[in-house]
């Protein structure tokens, strides 16, 4: 479904992403892991279009996204959350969702009056998304006034509001407790059950190993392994990569 073909991104002499090929299948949860600086974030930024790749292509259902701008990729069905949350802080919870729900519709509007229409909602129902994210009671609260956990939930809801086919989650468990991690795992499964394919980038091994259908491992910008959680756990290269970094071995073993 989402295919990265020989994707590379060089910053000067640094090969942040080096010849990565990955295929994420429709309806699966794909975990992308790797030590710090292994190229995970760059990969996400290449998929969403923040950077243009040095070489390679990104395709979604056979459509080549590589030359598209970020907002055009959203219209094609790519959505993401950010490791450091990026909400529209001065808008209310519902308005945050509304922007995502209608942003890509307005792109197609060729003349002003479309912009002035208050109604005409498209995509998933905002009220349903508010319930799904347990933010219904906060609907008219400014996003900046939410708790950290609520902000994370709103960010995911906002990503879903753009009606994506694939959702990229950039370290959604960062700053979350162990119990939160359990809830998060359920929520990610719920998202998948809505028919959205999930690409999960995460440091919390337990989470990735527990819910991913397949896992890809990056190290120094290269893909060093790909397979089921069990295969990844048994992989010697992966162990070496994690042992060689500041990540503890237990991360992998106890997962």
């Amino acid at each position: 479904m989402l295919t990265l073909q020989s994707l590379s991104k060089h910053f000067g002499g640094v090969r942040a992403v080096d010849d990565i090929s990955l295929t994420i299948k429709e309806g699966e949860i794909f975990g992308l892991i790797g030590p710090n600086g292994s190229g995970k974030s760059t990969t996400i930024n290449l998929i969403t279009g923040l950077y243009a790749p040095t070489t390679g292509t990104v395709t979604l259902d056979g459509y080549d996204l590589t030359a598209m701008a970020q907002h055009e990729r959203t219209a094609m069905g790519v959505a993401r959350t950010f490791q450091n949350i990026r909400l529209f802080g001065n808008l209310t919870v519902a308005q945050n969702l509304w922007v995502a729900q209608n942003g890509h519709e307005q792109r197609r509007a060729h003349f002003l009056p479309r912009w002035f229409k208050a109604g005409g909602e498209h995509g998933p129902d905002i009220e349903e998304l508010l319930k799904f994210s347990r933010l219904h009671s906060k609907r008219d609260v400014q996003a900046s006034a939410l708790s950290f956990g609520e902000m994370r939930r709103l960010e995911m809801a906002r990503a879903l509001a753009s009606n994506p086919r694939v959702l990229l989650l950039d370290e959604p468990a960062a700053g979350a407790s162990q119990e939160d991690g359990q809830l998060l795992a359920e929520r990610i499964r719920d998202v998948r059950d809505r028919g959205v394919t999930v690409l999960l980038i995460e440091h919390m091994m337990e989470l990735v190993m527990g819910i991913s259908d397949s896992i890809g491992v990056l190290n120094f910008g290269r893909k060093i392994a790909e397979g089921s959680p069990a295969e990844i756990q048994a992989n010697q290269d992966v162990r070496a990569a994690y042992l060689g970094s500041k990540h503890k071995d237990e991360d992998l073993i106890h997962a």
């Binding site: 969403t48 923040l50 701008a69 970020q70 907002h71 959203t74 219209a75 959505a79 993401r80 950010f82 990026r86 909400l87 529209f88 802080g89 001065n90 808008l91 308005q95 509304w98 922007v99 995502a100 209608n102 942003g103 890509h104 519709e105 307005q106 792109r107 002003l112 912009w115 002035f116 229409k117 208050a118 906002r158 990503a159 509001a161 753009s162």
Partner: protein, 296 residues
């Protein structure tokens, strides 16, 4: 302090506050563009001037009635604002803020020069309305033309607030100004929002230019400098990026310049306005309403 001085003082204050709404409007224009792009458009005052000249051309050529002249000023300035966007901002690299800043300085000089050439640098009469109407409140006279200027500027601000807070367009604009990256990933085309912002702030600038000329009764190319500098002072005082700040800043600049005019005369007036700018820059560089944080 004698009674007449107090009357003069209050009179200056009232006139200054009424006229200050034009500075507020210009300040809002600077702030809007800064809000969505985090860039200063120094050609803004010049574009407002050029728009005002488009309006006055219709007045001189066809004796167009004042409302048409004002409307043409606003539309002309809006269109020039969009041209400025394409020339100075659309294709300059976003990572190099200096590129668009200097491009806009070049544009300022270019537009200014073009206007001076077209008008031979001579002041031209500008239609003003309610020139002879005076409302007397005790010993204070409220000039009808200034009241009109004030009214138009307040209505323009009202329409802007409606746009920003009551329409999808405004929601998208505010989203882009708060989180440009997230807004793009919500499917909003940033180029489109930037373009509209330049157009809208251009219209506001044209209204400010037209009202400035209407308050004076003549139009000359030198008002470009006044619009640019006073508008910038208004946003520095109010806090770049804050619309309420621009309004307060504009009123403050208008009021204080009139009071300095009363106290120190026309030759020293601007010295004190600049001193005020200096004080704000050193003591409160963020302005009265601070700047928005948490954006990349």
């Amino acid at each position: 302090m004698d009674y007449f001085f107090i009357i003069d003082f209050v009179q200056s204050l009232v006139d200054g506050l009424l006229f200050g709404t034009t500075y507020a409007l210009i300040g809002i224009g600077f702030t809007l563009i800064f809000g969505v792009m985090r860039k200063l458009n120094l050609a803004y005052g010049a574009a407002a001037l050029a728009g005002t000249y488009i309006g006055v051309a219709a007045f001189l050529a066809f004796d167009a009635p004042p409302p048409v002249v004002f409307l043409l000023s606003a539309l002309g300035s809006g269109i020039i604002g969009i041209v400025v966007y394409y020339c100075c901002f659309r294709f300059t690299p976003t990572q190099v803020p200096m590129a668009s800043l200097l491009a806009s300085v070049g544009m300022l000089l270019f537009i200014d020069e073009a206007v001076v050439h077209a008008s031979h640098g001579m002041p031209v009469p500008y239609p003003s309305v309610f020139r002879n109407a005076i409302i007397e409140i005790g010993d204070i006279w409220v000039r009808g033309d200034l009241l009109f200027v004030f009214g138009i500027c307040v209505v323009a601000m009202g329409v802007l607030f409606w746009l920003l807070y009551r329409t999808p367009l405004g929601l998208a604009t505010r989203a882009v100004s708060q989180q440009p990256r997230a807004a793009a990933l919500c499917g909003i085309d940033p180029t489109r929002v930037n373009l509209l912002t330049f157009g809208i702030s251009g219209v506001l600038g044209g209204i400010a230019g037209a009202m400035t000329a209407a308050a004076v009764g003549v139009l000359s190319p030198i008002i470009a400098l006044g619009l640019t500098v006073k508008g910038l002072i208004a946003v520095v005082i109010g806090g770049l990026g804050s619309i309420p700040g621009a309004i307060i800043g504009g009123l403050l600049v208008g009021a204080s310049e009139n009071i300095f005019l009363l106290l120190r005369g026309v030759t020293e007036r601007d010295i004190y306005v600049m001193l005020m700018l200096f004080l704000f820059l050193t003591l409160r560089p963020g302005g009265l309403f601070g700047s928005t944080a948490g954006r990349d």
